[in-house]
Assembly symmetry: C2
Homo-oligomer: 228 residues x 2
DNA sequence: GACTACAAAATTGTAGACAATATTGTGTAC
DNA sequence: GTACACAATATTGTCTACAATTTTGTAGTC
Protein backbone atom coordinates (compact mmCIF):
# COMPACT_ATOMS: atom_id res chain seq x y z
CA UNK A 1 0.00 0.00 0.00
CA UNK A 2 2.55 2.61 1.02
CA UNK A 3 5.01 0.51 -0.89
CA UNK A 4 2.75 -0.52 -3.69
CA UNK A 5 5.47 0.16 -6.22
CA UNK A 6 7.81 -2.33 -4.66
CA UNK A 7 4.98 -4.75 -4.19
CA UNK A 8 4.31 -4.84 -7.91
CA UNK A 9 7.39 -6.92 -8.62
CA UNK A 10 7.59 -8.72 -5.33
CA UNK A 11 5.00 -11.44 -4.83
CA UNK A 12 5.84 -11.72 -1.14
CA UNK A 13 5.09 -8.05 -0.60
CA UNK A 14 1.68 -8.48 -2.19
CA UNK A 15 0.82 -11.18 0.32
CA UNK A 16 2.02 -8.99 3.18
CA UNK A 17 0.03 -6.12 1.80
CA UNK A 18 -3.20 -8.07 1.67
CA UNK A 19 -2.80 -9.52 5.12
CA UNK A 20 -1.84 -6.11 6.46
CA UNK A 21 -4.92 -4.53 4.95
CA UNK A 22 -7.13 -7.29 6.28
CA UNK A 23 -5.76 -6.65 9.75
CA UNK A 24 -6.03 -2.88 9.48
CA UNK A 25 -9.61 -3.18 8.27
CA UNK A 26 -10.45 -5.55 11.10
CA UNK A 27 -11.39 -8.39 8.82
CA UNK A 28 -8.67 -10.35 10.57
CA UNK A 29 -9.03 -9.90 14.29
CA UNK A 30 -6.13 -9.87 16.73
CA UNK A 31 -5.45 -13.39 17.93
CA UNK A 32 -6.59 -15.05 14.73
CA UNK A 33 -4.52 -18.02 13.83
CA UNK A 34 -2.83 -17.90 10.46
CA UNK A 35 -2.25 -21.42 9.22
CA UNK A 36 0.45 -21.56 6.61
CA UNK A 37 -1.11 -24.17 4.38
CA UNK A 38 -4.44 -22.42 4.46
CA UNK A 39 -2.90 -19.11 3.45
CA UNK A 40 -0.90 -20.87 0.75
CA UNK A 41 -4.09 -22.20 -0.75
CA UNK A 42 -5.92 -18.90 -0.47
CA UNK A 43 -3.21 -16.96 -2.27
CA UNK A 44 -2.34 -19.86 -4.59
CA UNK A 45 1.33 -19.73 -3.69
CA UNK A 46 3.73 -22.14 -2.05
CA UNK A 47 3.95 -22.47 1.68
CA UNK A 48 7.52 -21.24 1.58
CA UNK A 49 6.36 -17.92 0.28
CA UNK A 50 3.75 -17.65 3.00
CA UNK A 51 6.48 -18.24 5.54
CA UNK A 52 8.46 -15.36 4.08
CA UNK A 53 5.45 -13.11 4.29
CA UNK A 54 4.71 -14.14 7.87
CA UNK A 55 8.25 -13.50 9.06
CA UNK A 56 8.16 -10.12 7.35
CA UNK A 57 4.89 -9.32 9.07
CA UNK A 58 6.34 -10.49 12.35
CA UNK A 59 9.15 -7.97 12.18
CA UNK A 60 6.53 -5.28 11.65
CA UNK A 61 4.78 -6.48 14.78
CA UNK A 62 1.59 -7.37 12.97
CA UNK A 63 1.78 -11.09 13.52
CA UNK A 64 3.33 -13.10 16.30
CA UNK A 65 5.04 -16.36 15.47
CA UNK A 66 5.24 -18.90 18.24
CA UNK A 67 7.80 -21.62 17.52
CA UNK A 68 6.18 -24.89 16.52
CA UNK A 69 2.84 -23.32 17.26
CA UNK A 70 2.13 -21.14 14.32
CA UNK A 71 1.47 -17.52 13.44
CA UNK A 72 -1.24 -15.36 14.94
CA UNK A 73 -2.42 -11.82 14.38
CA UNK A 74 -0.63 -9.91 17.11
CA UNK A 75 -2.47 -8.70 20.16
CA UNK A 76 -0.43 -5.71 21.28
CA UNK A 77 -0.74 -5.09 24.99
CA UNK A 78 -1.97 -1.81 26.37
CA UNK A 79 1.58 -1.05 27.43
CA UNK A 80 2.92 -1.69 23.97
CA UNK A 81 0.18 0.45 22.47
CA UNK A 82 1.19 3.32 24.70
CA UNK A 83 4.85 2.75 23.88
CA UNK A 84 4.12 3.02 20.19
CA UNK A 85 2.68 6.45 20.78
CA UNK A 86 5.64 7.44 22.91
CA UNK A 87 7.90 6.44 20.05
CA UNK A 88 5.74 8.19 17.48
CA UNK A 89 5.74 11.43 19.43
CA UNK A 90 9.52 11.20 19.70
CA UNK A 91 10.12 10.43 16.04
CA UNK A 92 7.47 12.64 14.53
CA UNK A 93 8.71 15.60 16.54
CA UNK A 94 12.00 15.29 14.71
CA UNK A 95 10.27 14.78 11.40
CA UNK A 96 8.32 17.98 11.87
CA UNK A 97 11.44 19.83 12.97
CA UNK A 98 13.28 18.81 9.84
CA UNK A 99 10.33 19.60 7.66
CA UNK A 100 10.05 23.13 9.04
CA UNK A 101 13.62 23.66 7.94
CA UNK A 102 13.50 21.99 4.56
CA UNK A 103 9.94 22.08 3.27
CA UNK A 104 9.51 23.87 -0.04
CA UNK A 105 6.21 25.14 -1.50
CA UNK A 106 5.88 22.04 -3.64
CA UNK A 107 5.90 19.88 -0.54
CA UNK A 108 3.20 21.97 1.08
CA UNK A 109 1.05 21.62 -2.02
CA UNK A 110 1.49 17.90 -1.93
CA UNK A 111 0.59 17.72 1.74
CA UNK A 112 -2.54 19.82 1.25
CA UNK A 113 -3.47 17.59 -1.66
CA UNK A 114 -3.11 14.52 0.50
CA UNK A 115 -5.32 16.02 3.17
CA UNK A 116 -7.91 16.78 0.51
CA UNK A 117 -7.85 13.12 -0.46
CA UNK A 118 -8.37 12.20 3.17
CA UNK A 119 -11.36 14.49 3.31
CA UNK A 120 -12.90 12.93 0.22
CA UNK A 121 -12.30 9.43 1.52
CA UNK A 122 -13.85 10.45 4.82
CA UNK A 123 -17.02 11.52 3.06
CA UNK A 124 -17.17 8.50 0.79
CA UNK A 125 -16.74 6.22 3.78
CA UNK A 126 -14.38 3.84 2.01
CA UNK A 127 -12.70 2.22 4.99
CA UNK A 128 -9.79 0.88 2.99
CA UNK A 129 -8.94 4.35 1.68
CA UNK A 130 -9.45 6.00 5.04
CA UNK A 131 -7.08 3.60 6.76
CA UNK A 132 -4.46 3.96 4.07
CA UNK A 133 -4.61 7.73 3.77
CA UNK A 134 -4.71 8.53 7.45
CA UNK A 135 -1.47 6.68 8.07
CA UNK A 136 -0.18 7.85 4.72
CA UNK A 137 -0.21 11.45 5.83
CA UNK A 138 2.32 10.82 8.55
CA UNK A 139 4.43 8.78 6.18
CA UNK A 140 4.31 11.56 3.62
CA UNK A 141 5.62 13.96 6.24
CA UNK A 142 8.49 11.59 6.94
CA UNK A 143 9.19 11.16 3.24
CA UNK A 144 9.28 14.89 2.63
CA UNK A 145 11.52 15.36 5.64
CA UNK A 146 14.17 13.86 3.42
CA UNK A 147 15.19 11.15 5.83
CA UNK A 148 14.72 7.71 4.38
CA UNK A 149 15.66 6.27 7.71
CA UNK A 150 13.11 8.14 9.79
CA UNK A 151 10.60 7.19 7.13
CA UNK A 152 11.45 3.55 7.67
CA UNK A 153 11.01 3.76 11.42
CA UNK A 154 7.74 5.58 11.07
CA UNK A 155 6.47 3.11 8.51
CA UNK A 156 6.88 0.45 11.14
CA UNK A 157 5.23 2.57 13.81
CA UNK A 158 2.30 3.49 11.61
CA UNK A 159 1.71 -0.16 10.76
CA UNK A 160 1.62 -1.01 14.41
CA UNK A 161 -0.70 1.91 15.06
CA UNK A 162 -3.12 0.47 12.51
CA UNK A 163 -3.24 -2.78 14.40
CA UNK A 164 -3.56 -0.99 17.72
CA UNK A 165 -6.36 1.15 16.37
CA UNK A 166 -8.13 -1.90 15.02
CA UNK A 167 -7.81 -3.56 18.40
CA UNK A 168 -8.52 -0.78 20.85
CA UNK A 169 -10.55 1.84 19.09
CA UNK A 170 -13.66 2.88 20.88
CA UNK A 171 -16.98 3.09 19.12
CA UNK A 172 -17.00 6.87 18.87
CA UNK A 173 -14.14 7.24 16.45
CA UNK A 174 -13.42 10.25 14.33
CA UNK A 175 -10.11 8.57 13.64
CA UNK A 176 -7.26 10.88 12.84
CA UNK A 177 -9.36 13.57 11.19
CA UNK A 178 -7.81 15.70 8.46
CA UNK A 179 -8.35 18.94 10.37
CA UNK A 180 -5.48 18.38 12.75
CA UNK A 181 -3.36 17.23 9.87
CA UNK A 182 -4.04 20.48 8.11
CA UNK A 183 -3.13 22.46 11.21
CA UNK A 184 0.27 20.75 11.33
CA UNK A 185 0.88 21.47 7.67
CA UNK A 186 -0.04 25.13 7.99
CA UNK A 187 2.37 25.56 10.89
CA UNK A 188 5.05 23.93 8.78
CA UNK A 189 4.19 26.18 5.87
CA UNK A 190 4.74 29.23 8.07
CA UNK A 191 7.97 27.73 9.48
CA UNK A 192 6.60 27.86 12.99
CA UNK A 193 8.58 24.99 14.49
CA UNK A 194 7.29 25.25 18.03
CA UNK A 195 3.64 25.34 16.99
CA UNK A 196 4.08 22.55 14.47
CA UNK A 197 5.67 20.30 17.07
CA UNK A 198 2.99 21.16 19.59
CA UNK A 199 0.20 20.53 17.10
CA UNK A 200 1.66 17.19 16.12
CA UNK A 201 2.09 16.14 19.73
CA UNK A 202 -1.50 17.09 20.49
CA UNK A 203 -2.74 15.29 17.42
CA UNK A 204 -1.01 12.09 18.46
CA UNK A 205 -2.35 12.55 21.97
CA UNK A 206 -5.86 12.83 20.57
CA UNK A 207 -5.46 9.69 18.49
CA UNK A 208 -4.21 7.84 21.55
CA UNK A 209 -6.90 9.30 23.78
CA UNK A 210 -9.61 8.03 21.46
CA UNK A 211 -8.56 4.48 22.10
CA UNK A 212 -9.92 2.35 24.89
CA UNK A 213 -6.55 2.07 26.53
CA UNK A 214 -7.44 3.13 30.06
CA UNK A 215 -10.33 0.83 30.79
CA UNK A 216 -9.12 -2.72 30.87
CA UNK A 217 -5.60 -2.17 32.19
CA UNK A 218 -4.34 -5.42 30.82
CA UNK A 219 -6.56 -7.43 28.57
CA UNK A 220 -6.81 -11.17 29.01
CA UNK A 221 -3.94 -12.28 26.83
CA UNK A 222 -3.46 -15.50 28.73
CA UNK A 223 -6.20 -17.98 29.22
CA UNK A 224 -5.08 -18.28 32.82
CA UNK A 225 -5.61 -14.60 33.58
CA UNK A 226 -8.76 -14.59 31.48
CA UNK A 227 -10.52 -17.36 33.30
CA UNK A 228 -9.17 -17.51 36.83
CA UNK B 1 24.87 -10.97 22.54
CA UNK B 2 22.18 -8.60 23.75
CA UNK B 3 19.81 -11.48 23.24
CA UNK B 4 22.11 -14.29 24.15
CA UNK B 5 19.40 -16.03 26.08
CA UNK B 6 17.15 -16.28 23.06
CA UNK B 7 20.10 -17.18 20.90
CA UNK B 8 20.84 -20.21 23.01
CA UNK B 9 17.90 -22.15 21.67
CA UNK B 10 17.70 -20.50 18.28
CA UNK B 11 20.39 -21.59 15.85
CA UNK B 12 19.53 -18.77 13.45
CA UNK B 13 20.12 -16.16 16.13
CA UNK B 14 23.56 -17.60 16.81
CA UNK B 15 24.52 -17.11 13.17
CA UNK B 16 23.20 -13.55 13.25
CA UNK B 17 25.08 -12.93 16.43
CA UNK B 18 28.39 -14.08 15.02
CA UNK B 19 28.02 -12.13 11.81
CA UNK B 20 26.92 -9.10 13.78
CA UNK B 21 29.95 -9.32 16.03
CA UNK B 22 32.26 -9.75 13.07
CA UNK B 23 30.84 -6.61 11.51
CA UNK B 24 30.96 -4.63 14.74
CA UNK B 25 34.57 -5.66 15.30
CA UNK B 26 35.45 -4.73 11.73
CA UNK B 27 36.52 -8.22 10.79
CA UNK B 28 33.88 -8.01 8.11
CA UNK B 29 34.20 -4.73 6.32
CA UNK B 30 31.27 -2.83 4.85
CA UNK B 31 30.72 -3.91 1.27
CA UNK B 32 31.97 -7.43 1.83
CA UNK B 33 30.02 -9.96 -0.12
CA UNK B 34 28.36 -12.67 1.91
CA UNK B 35 27.93 -15.77 -0.23
CA UNK B 36 25.26 -18.04 1.12
CA UNK B 37 26.93 -21.33 0.34
CA UNK B 38 30.20 -20.16 1.81
CA UNK B 39 28.52 -19.09 5.03
CA UNK B 40 26.60 -22.36 5.12
CA UNK B 41 29.85 -24.28 5.01
CA UNK B 42 31.56 -22.06 7.58
CA UNK B 43 28.79 -22.47 10.12
CA UNK B 44 28.02 -26.06 9.11
CA UNK B 45 24.36 -25.36 8.58
CA UNK B 46 22.04 -25.50 5.64
CA UNK B 47 21.80 -22.67 3.16
CA UNK B 48 18.17 -22.13 4.13
CA UNK B 49 19.26 -21.21 7.62
CA UNK B 50 21.82 -18.79 6.29
CA UNK B 51 19.10 -17.15 4.25
CA UNK B 52 17.01 -16.73 7.38
CA UNK B 53 19.93 -15.14 9.16
CA UNK B 54 20.68 -12.83 6.26
CA UNK B 55 17.11 -11.60 5.97
CA UNK B 56 17.08 -11.00 9.71
CA UNK B 57 20.29 -9.04 9.44
CA UNK B 58 18.86 -7.11 6.53
CA UNK B 59 15.95 -5.89 8.59
CA UNK B 60 18.46 -4.67 11.16
CA UNK B 61 20.23 -2.77 8.42
CA UNK B 62 23.48 -4.65 8.85
CA UNK B 63 23.45 -6.38 5.48
CA UNK B 64 21.95 -5.34 2.20
CA UNK B 65 20.40 -7.96 -0.03
CA UNK B 66 20.29 -7.18 -3.72
CA UNK B 67 17.84 -9.45 -5.57
CA UNK B 68 19.60 -12.11 -7.59
CA UNK B 69 22.89 -10.51 -6.64
CA UNK B 70 23.51 -11.59 -3.12
CA UNK B 71 24.02 -10.18 0.33
CA UNK B 72 26.63 -7.61 1.29
CA UNK B 73 27.66 -5.99 4.52
CA UNK B 74 25.77 -2.70 4.43
CA UNK B 75 27.53 0.55 3.69
CA UNK B 76 25.35 3.10 5.41
CA UNK B 77 25.55 6.50 3.78
CA UNK B 78 26.63 9.58 5.69
CA UNK B 79 23.04 10.75 5.60
CA UNK B 80 21.78 7.50 7.05
CA UNK B 81 24.46 7.64 9.73
CA UNK B 82 23.30 11.09 10.76
CA UNK B 83 19.68 9.93 10.70
CA UNK B 84 20.47 7.11 13.06
CA UNK B 85 21.77 9.63 15.55
CA UNK B 86 18.73 11.83 15.05
CA UNK B 87 16.56 8.84 15.85
CA UNK B 88 18.70 7.85 18.81
CA UNK B 89 18.55 11.30 20.33
CA UNK B 90 14.76 11.23 19.90
CA UNK B 91 14.27 7.78 21.39
CA UNK B 92 16.86 7.93 24.13
CA UNK B 93 15.49 11.23 25.34
CA UNK B 94 12.23 9.45 26.08
CA UNK B 95 14.04 6.52 27.62
CA UNK B 96 15.86 8.82 29.99
CA UNK B 97 12.66 10.67 30.81
CA UNK B 98 10.92 7.46 31.75
CA UNK B 99 13.88 6.26 33.72
CA UNK B 100 14.00 9.43 35.79
CA UNK B 101 10.43 8.70 36.82
CA UNK B 102 10.69 4.97 37.41
CA UNK B 103 14.26 4.13 38.29
CA UNK B 104 14.70 2.48 41.67
CA UNK B 105 17.95 2.13 43.63
CA UNK B 106 18.45 -1.39 42.35
CA UNK B 107 18.44 -0.10 38.78
CA UNK B 108 21.04 2.53 39.62
CA UNK B 109 23.27 -0.11 41.16
CA UNK B 110 22.94 -2.21 38.06
CA UNK B 111 23.79 0.71 35.81
CA UNK B 112 26.85 1.65 37.87
CA UNK B 113 27.92 -1.97 37.76
CA UNK B 114 27.65 -2.01 34.00
CA UNK B 115 29.74 1.11 33.71
CA UNK B 116 32.35 -0.51 35.92
CA UNK B 117 32.45 -3.43 33.51
CA UNK B 118 32.93 -0.98 30.68
CA UNK B 119 35.84 0.56 32.52
CA UNK B 120 37.49 -2.77 33.08
CA UNK B 121 37.00 -3.78 29.46
CA UNK B 122 38.45 -0.45 28.40
CA UNK B 123 41.60 -1.13 30.37
CA UNK B 124 41.92 -4.72 29.21
CA UNK B 125 41.50 -3.65 25.63
CA UNK B 126 39.25 -6.55 24.69
CA UNK B 127 37.58 -5.15 21.59
CA UNK B 128 34.75 -7.65 21.61
CA UNK B 129 33.82 -6.71 25.17
CA UNK B 130 34.20 -3.00 24.56
CA UNK B 131 31.90 -3.09 21.57
CA UNK B 132 29.31 -5.18 23.36
CA UNK B 133 29.33 -3.23 26.60
CA UNK B 134 29.32 0.24 25.12
CA UNK B 135 26.14 -0.45 23.19
CA UNK B 136 24.87 -2.54 26.07
CA UNK B 137 24.76 0.46 28.36
CA UNK B 138 22.20 2.20 26.20
CA UNK B 139 20.21 -1.00 25.88
CA UNK B 140 20.27 -1.46 29.63
CA UNK B 141 18.83 2.02 30.05
CA UNK B 142 16.05 1.09 27.65
CA UNK B 143 15.44 -2.18 29.41
CA UNK B 144 15.21 -0.53 32.81
CA UNK B 145 12.89 2.11 31.41
CA UNK B 146 10.35 -0.67 31.41
CA UNK B 147 9.39 -0.30 27.78
CA UNK B 148 10.01 -3.46 25.82
CA UNK B 149 9.06 -1.63 22.70
CA UNK B 150 11.48 1.26 23.08
CA UNK B 151 14.08 -1.36 23.90
CA UNK B 152 13.37 -3.05 20.59
CA UNK B 153 13.72 0.13 18.61
CA UNK B 154 16.92 1.04 20.38
CA UNK B 155 18.34 -2.42 19.87
CA UNK B 156 17.97 -1.84 16.17
CA UNK B 157 19.49 1.63 16.39
CA UNK B 158 22.43 0.47 18.47
CA UNK B 159 23.17 -2.30 16.00
CA UNK B 160 23.23 0.19 13.19
CA UNK B 161 25.42 2.48 15.25
CA UNK B 162 27.93 -0.31 15.62
CA UNK B 163 28.14 -0.66 11.88
CA UNK B 164 28.36 3.08 11.40
CA UNK B 165 31.09 3.32 13.99
CA UNK B 166 32.99 0.51 12.33
CA UNK B 167 32.68 2.29 9.02
CA UNK B 168 33.25 5.92 9.87
CA UNK B 169 35.21 6.08 13.07
CA UNK B 170 38.24 8.28 12.94
CA UNK B 171 41.59 7.16 14.22
CA UNK B 172 41.46 9.14 17.42
CA UNK B 173 38.64 7.24 19.07
CA UNK B 174 37.85 7.23 22.74
CA UNK B 175 34.64 5.53 21.71
CA UNK B 176 31.73 6.10 24.00
CA UNK B 177 33.76 6.37 27.20
CA UNK B 178 32.16 5.31 30.45
CA UNK B 179 32.54 8.78 31.98
CA UNK B 180 29.64 10.28 30.08
CA UNK B 181 27.60 7.17 30.78
CA UNK B 182 28.20 7.67 34.46
CA UNK B 183 27.15 11.30 34.26
CA UNK B 184 23.83 10.29 32.73
CA UNK B 185 23.26 7.69 35.42
CA UNK B 186 24.03 10.10 38.23
CA UNK B 187 21.55 12.61 36.86
CA UNK B 188 18.97 9.85 36.69
CA UNK B 189 19.81 8.82 40.24
CA UNK B 190 19.11 12.36 41.43
CA UNK B 191 15.92 12.52 39.35
CA UNK B 192 17.20 15.52 37.45
CA UNK B 193 15.31 14.99 34.20
CA UNK B 194 16.52 18.07 32.38
CA UNK B 195 20.17 17.42 33.15
CA UNK B 196 19.88 13.74 32.32
CA UNK B 197 18.33 14.51 28.94
CA UNK B 198 20.93 17.14 28.23
CA UNK B 199 23.79 14.88 29.22
CA UNK B 200 22.47 12.07 27.04
CA UNK B 201 22.02 14.40 24.07
CA UNK B 202 25.54 15.69 24.47
CA UNK B 203 26.91 12.21 24.82
CA UNK B 204 25.28 11.14 21.57
CA UNK B 205 26.54 14.31 19.94
CA UNK B 206 30.05 13.47 21.06
CA UNK B 207 29.82 9.96 19.69
CA UNK B 208 28.58 11.32 16.39
CA UNK B 209 31.17 14.08 16.34
CA UNK B 210 33.99 11.58 16.70
CA UNK B 211 33.05 9.99 13.42
CA UNK B 212 34.45 11.09 10.08
CA UNK B 213 31.05 12.12 8.85
CA UNK B 214 31.84 15.64 7.70
CA UNK B 215 34.83 15.01 5.53
CA UNK B 216 33.85 12.99 2.52
CA UNK B 217 30.30 14.22 2.06
CA UNK B 218 29.23 11.12 0.22
CA UNK B 219 31.59 8.23 0.02
CA UNK B 220 32.03 6.42 -3.29
CA UNK B 221 29.26 3.87 -3.03
CA UNK B 222 28.96 3.51 -6.77
CA UNK B 223 31.82 2.52 -8.96
CA UNK B 224 30.80 5.26 -11.36
CA UNK B 225 31.15 8.01 -8.76
CA UNK B 226 34.25 6.35 -7.37
CA UNK B 227 36.21 6.24 -10.58
CA UNK B 228 34.93 9.01 -12.82
C1' DG C 1 -15.93 -42.15 36.89
C1' DA C 2 -11.63 -39.59 36.40
C1' DC C 3 -6.90 -39.32 35.48
C1' DT C 4 -2.75 -40.71 33.11
C1' DA C 5 -0.27 -42.63 29.42
C1' DC C 6 -0.05 -43.55 24.76
C1' DA C 7 -1.05 -43.04 19.92
C1' DA C 8 -2.64 -40.60 15.84
C1' DA C 9 -3.44 -36.46 13.30
C1' DA C 10 -2.26 -32.03 12.04
C1' DT C 11 0.99 -28.36 11.59
C1' DT C 12 5.31 -26.27 11.62
C1' DG C 13 10.45 -26.58 10.75
C1' DT C 14 14.28 -28.15 7.78
C1' DA C 15 16.85 -29.64 4.09
C1' DG C 16 17.98 -30.88 -0.38
C1' DA C 17 17.00 -30.63 -5.32
C1' DC C 18 15.72 -27.91 -9.24
C1' DA C 19 14.92 -23.56 -11.86
C1' DA C 20 15.86 -18.77 -12.90
C1' DT C 21 19.10 -15.03 -13.24
C1' DA C 22 23.32 -12.55 -13.46
C1' DT C 23 28.10 -12.49 -14.44
C1' DT C 24 32.10 -13.76 -16.82
C1' DG C 25 34.65 -15.76 -20.51
C1' DT C 26 35.14 -16.92 -25.36
C1' DG C 27 34.58 -16.76 -30.14
C1' DT C 28 33.39 -14.70 -34.42
C1' DA C 29 32.40 -11.02 -37.51
C1' DC C 30 33.43 -6.57 -39.05
C1' DG D 1 42.03 -5.00 -33.17
C1' DT D 2 37.65 -4.11 -31.29
C1' DA D 3 32.98 -4.88 -30.35
C1' DC D 4 29.06 -7.58 -30.08
C1' DA D 5 26.69 -11.85 -29.40
C1' DC D 6 26.53 -16.23 -27.36
C1' DA D 7 27.62 -19.79 -24.16
C1' DA D 8 29.35 -21.49 -19.70
C1' DT D 9 29.63 -20.90 -14.85
C1' DA D 10 28.42 -19.49 -10.52
C1' DT D 11 25.02 -17.84 -7.34
C1' DT D 12 20.58 -16.84 -5.80
C1' DG D 13 15.49 -17.94 -5.67
C1' DT D 14 11.78 -21.34 -5.27
C1' DC D 15 9.45 -25.49 -4.57
C1' DT D 16 8.52 -30.14 -2.82
C1' DA D 17 9.31 -33.86 0.18
C1' DC D 18 10.69 -35.33 4.78
C1' DA D 19 11.47 -34.81 9.89
C1' DA D 20 10.28 -32.91 14.38
C1' DT D 21 6.98 -31.11 17.45
C1' DT D 22 2.70 -30.13 19.33
C1' DT D 23 -2.04 -31.02 19.96
C1' DT D 24 -5.96 -33.82 20.20
C1' DG D 25 -8.32 -38.09 20.69
C1' DT D 26 -8.57 -42.75 22.84
C1' DA D 27 -7.97 -46.46 25.76
C1' DG D 28 -6.54 -48.48 29.91
C1' DT D 29 -6.10 -48.50 34.86
C1' DC D 30 -6.77 -47.10 39.53
Amino acid sequence: MYNADEAAGAPTAIICEKIWLAIAERRLRPGTRLKEEQLAEIFSVSRARIRQALTALERDGLVTIMPNRGAFVSEPSVDEARDVFVARRAIEQRVVERLCERANPKDIVRLRGHIEEERIAGHSGNLSDIVRLSGGFHLLLAELSGSAFLFGILRDLVSRTSLITAMYRSNHLHNCGPDEHLAVVEHIASRDVASAIKEMAEHLNHVEAELDLDEEKDQPRDLRTALL
